[in-house]
Each structure stands twice: as structure tokens, then as C-alpha cells.
Subunit: 368 residues, 2 copies
């Protein structure tokens, strides 16, 4: 049975640099711990992986923020470490701690054994994609995602997050670049297969999260992160069921390399809050849409300040392209995931400000 | 009694954009835990603050890396939180944890009570500066330093380091910018007095560490960090005892704002490893020397890789200015403090590579 036709295509149009009546927005990690209803579902599921691996729970939490807010896209509820888990590295989440991988890549033998996982092991993710698409019933598009090859490698070598400046993965990178390249080549193939399977299951756009690309030195970023993101992109399905599938790349801390990222074969570049959107627009030119970039910490401030800062972000980008054809467009987002400490009503204020002010920007440009 | 004349002025000359026969180097946090002799002195002192507040110990550890390596500058051994401590915020270091401030700035009343501290409370720092100068006996110049107004404010509001994306200080910044500006104005005055007293005591160059400027959003950085660093700079003594005192500003994660930092009234801009030194040189032009920017993680790799990466950093900057007058110059450093996990003999390999390759670069440019 085909999915219901899409009723709000603002996000997809903006991704493809087409004119929209307002600036669409969604929030990284929008289904998350700042929502009491998320915490309730999480409690029923028993654990984070219990939530992510159960189709019904994953569907439920993906749709929760859409019940509260007029967001213009949904994003698959999952974790970026599903792929290393499917590779057999043994993912677990201890209560109150970050993710852990029981078998990190610590020596040449471990790297030699690494292989692209059977995508059947990730069936629960693709099932969730289909289930969410049905539940969305055409309300807004669904974004699928993966960590970038480099970002996955960070966790795979460290065995989890790093409180120590990614010492182990960078030691490997500088000491044994050959092993690092082998890990990254396998990750790139796995990520491409994973995203293509999400597209086949119903994802209407895909995003590569290069969360730790910004930890790399200039030259190392290009060699160990950007090159492998590029390798993923060339392998992605461009269309599905006659629809173009926009591809978004977000490198946290990657603002300095935006001109080099502009050469990627993707549609949208996500940027964090250190980037000036006006400068970024001038730099990347007409070839890419931009996504971002409110500091998530703004949402701790009272609603009036939230709205003022949201307007500053929209104004920094300026009035998007409004004619026919393709031109500069903006998708509003945070510069990183929303914090668990965010008051939910501040998000309501944000959504209203973005939609309202971005309509006024277009009207002002039209009448002047 | 005047201090001994300086025998190696390579670092000071490079700071003032004068030609040098090789690229000088020093390392942020060069007197530190990666050195067994530092750990031995630290054990005798009983605590970190016991080390920093004792003139003899501070002198001893400042000189330790110079006994091992042909470094071209010494940097005062101290902590950036001495100023908040003198303001009465109650600094302590728990074993195995970061710094803590017992009285963080958490409400309007606390901010209202904040004042520029009596510099007499920091006498131990100025005494250390004089003692180190005497012990150096003209071997290399001594760098004094302070945290930037913004970076001090981060710790003053959070009560220590942050594992939570500087949530408290950013909440204050966005909710009550008036309070934030009051803290920063006081910090700027305190930092200027502190650095001027270090200069009076014998510091031959001064550096402002804006370690957390890069956590700020575009626009917030300019308003809450850069503007107050600029305020410090205009208040600094330009000369002492007939010598020009170079001023270095380092914003970790500030590469995107380098063109705006180029307008600061200082001599040297420090950059982290995400910056391409060749691009930075083209961007800041002839107005500033550049300092940096090897990834400290490179030092975990074997000596040959350390040396190859050091050559890449030197090559990225290119051949410095070699004529008379002022022109583009480079001071080699890491892009952040050296890690406690660094093998000391890798530092030896680094120093040899920097001095050797930078001499060859100049010879090659001269003969071509």
C-alpha cells in the first residue's frame, strides 16, 4: 500500500532550493528528553535501546513533538550507534551514562575483522521508518539519518564518547593512518547501504551527522572525514518512487571548511551556531541550501529572548530566494541537538517566531 | 638589580613580525603533568594551588621544560582562575577533578557584589614572575598570561568547568545580558590590571587565553568575548624598561572570526588546529604574527609521525618574512595545551623538527 500523499512539502522544497511561503523548521533531537511524554514512553520501554528497537515505541516518540509543535519535518527516532552495533561491537547504554561499545577497535586484529554488517540486522530501523511514514499519514516528510564514517569511527575506537579529546581515535589516526582508512572505507560502505535501505523503506530525505568532524585538524578533516562523507554521498539513491531524496550533511564545528563542503554532492549543509548565516550564504553560493543554526542554549532564556534570537538567525540569512527555479534557501534548526533542560513552552515560542518572522521577511522583500 | 640581558630573542622578534633565523616554538602548558619532574614537585607542594602560590615551586616548574628542550620562551606557571579567586569566589582543586569556585555568580545580588580585586591579593603571581626572570637569567623571554574576560566569566558563573555545554553561563547571557556585561566589564578591568602588574614585575610578553570564546554563537562572540578582549588590550602597557611588550590573543575555536580578530590591537593571534595557517596568513595579512597550531594529539604518535606533522604545519604557513622591517611571521605552538599523556621524548622530536625544518625552509626560499 503506498504512503499517503504529502500535505506539507515546505521542508523538502527548501532542501531542493525551491521557494517556500515561510522558512521551514525542525529541531535536531526534537523527540527527546525535554518532553515529559518522551520520558513516559522511555520508562515504559525500560531502556533507550528498548525504545529504539521497538517499532511501536520508535513511531510513538518520533511523532510526539509533532503533536505539540507545527514542525515541518519528522526525524526517525534512532541512535547513530546502530551501525557499529550491527557490526558486532556490542552497544549498550548504562543508565545516566553515554553509550558504550563492549568490543572497541583497539588493535590491528580487531580492525582486520571489521566488515560491513548484514543490513538484516538493522531491519528494526527500516521497519520503524515504514511505521512512522504510515503514522505520519502525509503530515510532514520523514528524515532518515546516519552518523558519518568518521563520527562512527570515533565511537568505535574509543568504545564510547570521549571525555579526553578523542585521544584513542586520534592516536590511531596519526600512528596508523592505514588502519584508520580501512575502518573508514568499511564505514562509508555501511552508511551508504544503511541510508539507501532507509530510503527504500520510506525516508524522504537523509542526513549525515558528522558530529565530531570539527575535532579534527585542518588536512586531517579533509582526509579522514570529508572524503568519506563524499564517498557515502555518491552511493546514495537520488530518487525513490519518482521523488528526489534531498541529502543533508552537518559537520559540527565545520564552519571553517564550508567552502570545501560546498563541493559535496549533497543538497543541504547544516551549520552550527558559530557560523554567520549571511557569510555562509555568500560563501556556498547558490549550490546548497543551509540548515541551522540557533544556539540550543538560547532556549533556556525567556520566550521573548528566544524569539528575538530566532529573528536574528533568520535576518542573518536574509530573505530566501522567492522566484521560480532554484536559489538560496534556509531551513531553520538549532546548531546542535536540543538540550534535555529545555522548557517545552520555549520551543512553542520558537516555532511561532520562525514561521511568523520568516513570512514577514518575504512580505517585506516583496513590497520593497 | 636589573634582569640579565636576553640571549635568545627569537620569540620576541617573531611576535613583532621581525625576521628570525628559524621559527621559534614554545608549548601551551609546557610545564605540566606529562613531565615526571613536574609531578615530583607537585607531590612535594601537596596541591596544585600549593604549587602555584609558592614562588620557589612556581619558578622550579616553569624552568623544568627548558632543561629538557630547546624551547624559545618560558611561560609563567599559574592558573587562569587566580583572578576569580582574588575576587573572593573561593578557588579550590579537588584531587582528580577540575577547579571549583565555592561562590559562583548565580544571581543578581552576587553579580552586584563583584568588584575588581586588590592586586595585592595576587602578589604571589608577581613575585613568581620576578623570581622566574632571575632564574631564567636571560636564557629566553618570559610570557605572562591571563584568561580572557569571557573565559573567566564562564568559570565564575558555572562554578568550575562545564560538562554541560556552559548551560548556566549561556542562560545568564541570553536571559540577563545586562548582568553578563557587568561581569565582563569588571573582568576586563581586572585582567588589564593583572597583566600590567605582570609586565611591571618582569613579563616580557603577555597572552590572553580566550579558551571558551569558541563556545559562543556568532554575534554573541563579538559582543561578549571579543569586545572585552579589545577593552583589555587598550589598557595594557605597550613598553616596559624600553622594551616593547608583545600581546598575544588566543581564542580556541575562533578560526571563523579571524578576520575580525585581525582588527584587535595586539601583535600575535594564536589559532587552534582546525585553522589552515596558509589561509589564516592570507586572511590576517601583514598586521599580525600567527601562533600555532599542531594538534596536541599528534604527540601521541611515534616520533617520525610527529616530525612529519610538524613539517606540515610549518609548510602550511610557508616561508616567513626574511627581510628588514615587519612582515608575516610564525611562532610554532600546539593548538591547545599539551596533554598529560604525552611521552616526553616525542616533544624532543618535535622541537628538533621545528627548528631544523624551519631553517631549511628559509634556506630553500633564499636559494630559489
Amino acid at each position: 500500500m503506498p504512503f499517503a500523499p504529502l500535505r506539507n512539502d515546505t521542508f523538502l522544497r527548501a532542501c531542493l532550493r525551491q521557494a517556500t511561503p515561510y522558512t521551514p523548521l525542525w529541531l535536531m533531537r526534537q523527540a527527546g528528553r525535554y518532553l515529559p511524554e518522551y520520558k513516559a514512553t522511555r520508562a515504559r520501554a525500560g531502556s533507550f535501546m528498548g525504545l529504539a528497537t521497538n517499532t511501536d515505541y520508535a513511531t510513538e516518540v518520533t511523532l510526539q513533538p509533532l503533536e505539540r509543535y507545527a514542525l515541518d519535518a519528522a526525524i526517525l527516532f534512532s541512535d547513530i550507534l546502530t551501525v557499529p552495533d550491527a557490526m558486532g561491537l556490542g552497544l549498550s547504554f548504562a543508565e545516566g551514562e553515554g553509550p558504550k561499545l563492549a568490543q572497541p577497535l583497539r588493535d590491528e586484529a580487531a580492525v582486520a575483522k571489521l566488515a560491513v554488517p548484514d543490513m538484516d540486522k538493522l531491519r528494526y530501523v527500516f521497519d520503524a521508518v515504514g511505521s512512522i511514514r504510515r503514522a505520519l499519514d502525509g503530515r510532514v516528510p520523514l528524515i532518515g539519518f546516519s552518523g558519518s564514517p568518521w563520527t562512527l569511527a570515533c565511537y568505535m575506537v574509543e568504545g564510547g564518547g570521549s571525555s579526553d579529546d578523542w585521544r584513542r581515535v586520534k592516536s590511531l589516526l596519526y600512528s596508523r593512518p592505514d588502519l584508520m582508512h580501512r575502518i573508514l572505507a568499511i564505514n562509508a560502505e555501511a552508511v551508504a547501504q544503511y541510508l539507501n535501505a532507509q530510503i527504500a523503506a520510506g525516508a524522504q530525505a537523509v542526513m549525515v551527522f558528522d558530529s565530531w568532524g570539527g575535532a579534527l585538524a585542518d588536512q586531517a578533516f579533509q582526509e579522514f572525514s570529508l572524503a568519506y562523507t563524499a564517498r557515502v554521498l555518491v552511493k546514495l539513491q537520488r530518487t525513490h518512487d519518482g521523488q528526489t531524496i534531498p541529502r543533508i550533511v552537518f559537520t559540527k564545528g565545520g564552519g571553517l571548511w564550508l567552502d570545501q563542503m560546498a563541493a559535496l554532492d549533497c543538497d543541504v549543509l547544516g551549520v552550527d551556531w558559530t557560523v554567520n548565516l549571511g557569510r555562509a550564504r555568500a560563501l556556498v553560493g547558490a549550490s546548497k541550501a543551509l540548515q541551522g543554526n540557533l544556539d540550543p542554549a538560547v532556549l533556556f532564556a525567556p520566550p521573548e529572548q528566544v524569539q528575538a534570537q530566532a529573528r536574528r538567525v533568520l535576518d542573518a540569512f536574509g530573505t530566501p530566494h522567492q522566484g521560480t527555479g532554484a536559489g538560496p534557501t534556509h531551513i531553520f534548526n538549532l546548531g546542535h541537538g536540543i538540550s534535555q533542560h529545555t522548557p517545552p513552552d520555549h520551543v512553542q515560542a520558537l516555532v511561532e517566531a520562525v514561521h511568523g518572522h520568516s513570512r514577514r521577511l518575504r512580505a517585506g522583500a516583496g513590497s520593497s
